[in-house]
């Protein structure tokens, strides 16, 4: 507990770290895409990761459930280090919800089947109960009426909300969002952000990689700014957007906030 610096603007509640990355390094060939990343996410915290393209923020997000492996360092979730590929890892992934930029709904299954698959095959839930839970979740994200359609019949915004419901159906401890609105038409972005806002208000622990500064401002407890594979700045949204301390962040914000 003592190692938590008091100079941080938003110190996570001490001792309740849900996700902890320490000295994480990763290379893609010669490219050092994650450089000595230290990041702790507390239970119930909403952390928004922003930064220019190629800064490593998506990779960072994907290492947390080991869709990307790391070269060195450690990642723990709820105190347990990420295991090697296998049953242990699968069990851990079930507790970590993930929402992708390209939705990745199972194209050969209906919306309802998409949301029940994990419950039935991983959680070994009863089919009927899984369907009830799935319908309730689909209603919650506002696509209950689409339950029997196939993903290709839905709009992007609807598909992404189904993807959120699919992840929530597993009862995850933490939700990872990898640019959830980047592939959406502008008019559909808000319907997805609203669902995410609601989740944040309900106390879900969230790591969100996004370019939506409005969402970062209103929903985040903490903003993490990445550039060139490093965490350049961590601050509360107010602090970060009104008074960024690093030149790199000032430069980034000046390019995106003036139109």
């Amino acid at each position: 507990m003592t190692e938590l610096s008091v100079t941080k603007d938003v110190a996570p509640p001490a001792g309740d770290a849900l996700v902890a990355l320490s000295h994480v390094n990763k290379h893609f060939g010669a490219l050092h895409v994650l450089q000595d990343i230290d990041l702790t996410i507390a239970r119930g915290e909403v952390v928004v990761v922003i930064g220019p393209s190629g800064s490593g923020k998506s990779t960072l997000c994907r290492t947390i459930n080991r869709l990307e492996t790391i070269d060195s360092g450690s990642i723990t979730i709820d105190g347990k280090p990420l295991p090697q590929e296998g049953k242990e890892l699968a069990r851990l992934r079930a507790d970590v919800g993930m929402v992708f930029q390209s939705f990745n709904l199972f194209a050969h299954k209906t919306v309802l089947e998409n949301v029940t698959l994990g419950q039935i095959k991983v959680r070994k839930a009863d089919k009927k109960e899984a369907e009830e839970k799935a319908r309730a979740l689909l209603d919650r994200v506002g696509v209950g009426a689409q339950a029997d359609k196939y993903p290709a019949q839905l709009s992007g915004g609807q598909q992404q909300r189904v993807a959120i419901a699919r992840a929530l159906a597993m009862g995850p401890k933490v939700m990872l969002f990898d640019e959830p609105t980047s592939a959406l038409d502008p008019e559909m972005i808000n319907e997805v952000l609203e669902v995410m806002q609601q989740l944040a208000r309900d106390g879900m622990t969230m790591v969100v990689v996004t370019h939506e500064m409005g969402f970062a401002r209103s929903a985040a407890n903490r903003v993490v700014f990445m550039a060139d594979g490093r965490i350049v700045e961590e601050a509360s949204p107010d602090q970060f957007f009104s008074n960024p301390s690093s030149d790199r962040a000032k430069d980034f914000l000046s390019k995106i906030l003036h139109h």
Binding site: F100, A107, K121
Partner: protein, 221 residues
């Protein structure tokens, strides 16, 4: 005009062809799927086995494989596949040989189908906590199969015609009867035409029906 057909069991011979085809098709679909699973799987030993199997088997002429099942497996090693009757043994050996051969092509067709499934599908499945086997059987293979109905139809049609090789080890299917008739009858062209027609009757509907199935089953993205 078709007097020469008298005394020959044409339907019986084609029935053996149909049986050879059906059993070999089911067998090679199962074994070919397992091979494809090995080739895309995470275990290096199985991956190596799958790759070696496909590259060895698909490059050996079918007739060599079929003859080997009889001369090598049966007559040298005494593998009779649970039958005392020579004809039954030969039939089973032929199915074994056809399965061994055709599954290499099924595996490769399926593997190309697996490559059409976007990586994100498997990633989403893994992120839910599904095991490798579940990712493959619940998410990847169902989509892969739908995209390779066309190529698999070609494999099935080739298999139907390849069953004629079974006559090399004395299985009384259509081609064996044809040889028999050619030796005993004078109407050589007509005999060939009858058997050609027989095969077209088997394969043409197969192609049409599976073409329709392929369209129906295609995954919309």
């Amino acid at each position: 005009m078709f007097d020469f057909l008298e005394g020959y069991d044409l339907l019986g011979a084609f029935w053996v062809t149909v049986q050879l085809t059906a059993l070999s098709a089911v067998g090679s679909l199962i074994w070919g799927t397992l091979l494809a699973g090995m080739r895309v799987g995470p275990v290096p030993l199985l991956r190596g086995f799958g790759t070696a199997y496909v590259n060895v088997v698909r490059n050996i002429p079918l007739v060599v494989i079929i003859v080997f099942t009889s001369l090598g497996l049966y007559q040298t090693l005494g593998v009779s596949l649970g039958s005392d009757i020579v004809n039954t043994t030969n039939f089973r050996l032929a199915v074994l040989g056809l399965v061994a051969y055709t599954s290499a092509f099924v595996c490769e067709a399926l593997r190309s189908g697996i490559n059409t499934v976007p990586v994100g599908q498997a990633e989403a499945a893994r992120a839910l906590g599904l095991s490798f086997g579940q990712v493959l059987t619940l998410v990847v293979l169902p989509q892969a199969f739908r995209s390779v109905v066309g190529p698999l139809t070609s494999v099935l049609i080739a298999l139907t015609k390849n069953t004629t090789v079974a006559s090399a080890i004395g299985v009384a299917e259509a081609a064996a009867l044809m040889k028999d008739m050619i030796e005993n009858e004078a109407q050589l062209i007509l005999i060939s035409a009858v058997f050609a027609f027989g095969f077209v009757c088997l394969t043409l509907p197969t192609g049409l029906i599976l073409g329709w199935v392929g369209k129906k089953a295609a995954v919309k993205r």
